[in-house]
Amino acid sequence: MSPPFEMRHVTREFGGLKAVSDFSITLERGELTGLIGPNGAGKTTVFNMITGMLRPTAGDITWNGENITRLPSHMITARGIARTFQNIKLFSDMSVLENVMVSCHYSIHSSFLAAMLGLPKHGREEKRIRKHSLKHLEEAGLAPLAYEKAQNLPYGLQRKLEIARALATEPGMLLLDEPAAGMNPMEKMELAAFIRRIREKSGITIFLIEHDMKFVMNICERIKVINYGQSIAEGAPDKIRSDPEVISAYLGGASHAQG
């Protein structure tokens, strides 16, 4: 069976500058893979292309046998790829619960007319959405804060909410963009456990960007390294740790990572 996710020779140019160049990767179902590289290496650009926020200049991206290269973001989410953001992009003025309920919108069955007329079909749908969202909040440990405004949450919990929100779209693959940024060591341990739990429970494929080396080496089964938009290494954590090219990329002049 072919791997569910593939990127083939993906390139992204910005007026002559290649932010990402000839990037290829395949991900198997249920794999936990990390994407690392110095600052500005192109990692978030890769994520943005996968999720339809940017269009590749060349190459293609396949998910579950379908070419998703040119699809808009919302359709890619509907097909089962969800993401979190490097800078938290929660719906600040909305409650924690409402943030998660938005994720159910694309799969809503009742029409807007049913909503406007207050038909029972719509009431049932709203109940289902509420239940589904509360369930995801419970799994993330956020249920007690369901009616708090998202912007009032402490930083670490905001990051968790972002993940819960993405999971509520019932994805087959989850992209996490620096999920541990700004967290203290204990929070990072909790996060790592949380991510492992997610993978165990639902078997979804996880692809994550991180700067914290310890975190990445600890949790990822496979790591891909990118520098100046190009893939420079790929493999198990131990192999990557001792790869000379990776080491020189981090120590040789470019901004270095923590950990």
Partner: protein, 350 residues
């Protein structure tokens, strides 16, 4: 508060409202009835407008266009062929306008539907852009509609407008539509559809990433808003019985903007409050434009003073009372209950 109790309170309020309206329709003066009709029509317009600007967060500057479309559609459909003959003196009305005539209620629904059709058409250029561009494009739409109404002599009778419309609009129609608009639009806002719209307002990129299609959701808001704005236009036409393109300028948009900003951008309750304050305040401020006699002095009226005061109020609200009266909150039975609870707690001795 249980759903059943809320429902009972809602029904009771409606009965109360219509009871009050009945009293006014029987015993109120023509002036009072007119103001009440105005308030209701403004409420419908403001609540529809708030859906786009407040809930979806788009700066839509063309509601005057949809109101105009509704007014003309309703007027042209409800007038008898004879009345049209009298009006269209420069250029005969084209077919089928010159012969068609339908009952008032049909003309109102048609007004809403036609306005919604226009909203559908302009969604395509308008929703490709955001922010300032969207503001200008919608402003342009409103202007284009007005110019078209002025120029299309054989359709709208051009600058002469349409006179002698039958005053179908009464308190029942205007307040019935207003109540319907408030209920239906608020239901939409409270539903998951409304959540999607608010999400687009908060962070469109994140909304997209969560599966929301901004184009479809915003177009829906546009259609609903235009529908009710069109009906409000029809009601307006049959209230003042004379319409002309000069009635639907950017000034109308500006007035609606004042209503929803002062009331609280994003709040339906705020839109209602804003509409009431505007209609009532507009009447009250009329005195500034008429000559006043204080003892031996006669202070001359100052035309344009009303607009100066309105502009000042808008600016003061925007600069100092950023969120308007209600902010984004609504008054619901739940909030009334909690306010009563708080008040009761301050009354009981420790």
């Amino acid at each position: 508060m249980s759903e059943k109790l809320k429902f009972r309170f809602n029904v009771a309020s409606l009965i109360l409202l219509f009871g009050v309206l009945f009293l006014f329709s029987r015993y109120g003066s023509g002036y009072q009835v007119r103001i009440l009709n105005n308030i209701a029509i403004f409420i419908t317009m403001a609540v529809s407008y708030n859906l786009i600007n407040g809930v979806c967060g788009l700066l839509h500057l063309g509601p005057n266009g949809f109101i105009a479309i509704g007014a003309y559609t309703s007027a042209l459909l409800s007038m008898t062929p004879a009345e049209k003959q009298i009006n269209f003196i420069l250029d005969h009305a084209i077919w089928p306008i010159d012969v068609i005539q339908v009952p008032f209620v049909v003309s109102l629904i048609a007004a809403g539907v036609v306005a919604a059709c226009f909203a559908f058409l302009i969604s395509f250029p308008v929703l490709r852009v955001r922010g300032d561009y969207l503001a200008i494009v919608t402003l342009g739409f409103g202007e284009v509609v007005r110019v078209l109404c002025n120029a299309a002599q054989s359709v709208t009778n051009g600058p002469l407008g349409l006179k002698g419309l039958y005053p179908h609009t009464n308190l029942w129609w205007s307040w019935g539509v207003a109540a319907l608009a408030v209920v239906v639009i608020q239901r939409l806002i409270n539903s998951n559809y409304g959540l999607a719209m608010k999400a687009i307002r908060e962070d469109e990129t994140a909304a997209r990433a969560m599966g929301v299609d901004p184009f479809r959701r915003l177009m829906l808001a546009f259609l609903v808003s235009a529908f009710f704005s069109g009906i409000a236009g029809g009601l307006l036409a049959h209230l003042i019985t004379t319409i002309s393109p000069g009635l639907f300028t950017f000034l109308l948009t500006f007035n609606l903007l004042i209503m929803i900003v002062v009331g609280g951008l994003g709040s339906t309750t705020g839109a209602v409050i804003g509409a009431v304050l505007f209609a009532w305040g507009g009447e009250a401020l009329r005195i500034v434009e008429q000559p006043m006699e204080i003892g031996p002095l006669t202070i001359p009226g100052i035309p344009g003073m009303r607009m100066v005061i309105f502009s000042l109020i808008l600016m003061l609200v925007i600069l100092f009372l950023r969120k308007g009266i209600m902010g984004r909150s609504e008054i619901s039975w739940n909030s009334v209950e909690s306010m009563l609870a708080v008040w009761r707690r301050t009354q009981t001795p420790p």
